[in-house]
Symmetry: C2
Subunit: 215 residues, 2 copies
């Protein structure tokens, strides 16, 4: 039932879903079956309408006077985000940042399965990080042929000057999306889904606030 209207859902709402999901899992842990927007909203200092609107984009419906079923909401958010099934990925750049991503269990919990990592440092090649082997970058196209699963995502954790070249390489082996941690904007074909992690940008907001009154 692919929608014909192609109405893009509000990004701010999507960005708030993971935190709701975390909270809901805590509630499930405690054995709670039912939750209200009011309760979620007060946890985050938001208005309950906003939570309701956010949750509505997942398609899950609540019951007036009662609330939402915790389990249904968890499943709804996870399905909406595509976190209810595995997404296979390659990661290029096994420095500290790349290693952090490989080691972080949270992403696996969200379905992210990194099936191979790549780096040109000979000391790293052949190593295993969390069941993920590190290969030479030159092997990337060869390796791709041996994988039966679609590799849908390329994670770029190389230094900025190499990021564009690496991203091109990943696009060439057929990934549909690029998750970029390098502090450069990458130029990619329009059909490639692209998302950046903006560390300097986050620092900019913090740093600006810190210096706001000092003058």
């Amino acid at each position: 039932m692919a929608g014909s209207a192609e109405k893009s859902l509000p990004v701010p709402s999507i960005l708030r879903l993971p935190k709701y999901l975390r909270l809901l899992k805590e509630f499930r842990q405690k054995g709670d079956k039912i939750i209200s927007c009011t309760r979620i909203a007060e946890e985050f200092g938001q208005l309950s309408v906003q939570v309701r609107k956010d949750l509505a984009i997942t398609g899950v419906v609540g019951r007036p006077k009662v609330g939402y079923q915790v389990e249904e909401l968890i499943n709804g958010i996870e399905h909406f985000l595509g976190w209810d099934h595995k997404t296979y990925a390659y990661l290029v750049g096994v420095g500290n940042l790349g290693s952090a991503i490989l080691n972080y269990a949270g992403f696996l919990e969200h379905g992210l399965k990194i099936i191979a990592a790549f780096d040109n440092n000979p000391k790293l090649i052949g190593k295993k990080i969390k069941n993920c082997t590190v290969y030479s970058i030159s092997e990337i196209s060869k390796l791709k042929l041996s994988h039966t699963k679609d590799v849908q995502m390329g994670i770029v954790t190389v230094p900025a000057p190499e990021a564009q070249r690496i991203a091109n390489l990943l696009v060439n082996v057929g990934v549909r999306s690029i998750w970029n941690y390098a502090p450069v904007r990458l130029d990619l074909p329009p059909d490639i889904i692209y998302e950046e992690v903006k560390l300097s940008e986050s620092y900019a907001v913090l740093s600006h606030r810190l210096n706001q009154r000092t003058s």
Copy 2:
């Protein structure tokens, strides 16, 4: 001349400044003295008005028909963001993520000077990462007394379950701001400036787009 109105500047604009700054530095590198909004805008696929509005918040003014002076704009953005002077910080959690931040030269270039790192792993204590010594977390209050410079920022790169405790500790030794990389929202006094790096949130947007049509 601290403004009395306290009008908060648009966060979206602040978030775009670092990318302008990167581009401007490239232009300076090439020897360009003058730059127009039109030129910056086309580089990022934006409208020139938006660039102009964004740059306006820094207080730098351009000259009609001419454009902006590259050097003046760089200085203006850096000053606005507080990147033209050092900000001293403590970092707690010297795992892969913490190490990545310690090793990344870009932050130092933006004035971030991490003067001490903390971790409870005995293998790390005493080590130096980029001129920054790793101490036991228990030493944090002792160490603070020996620093003459104000430590204005605490960077939290510990696992989620420890993040709140560590943040409290940092607030207790007197930091004015917390930069949190752990995937939890931290509860802090209202006068503490707080900013999160939201990795799961970034992944959520990407993952959602990737799965949008699949149903």
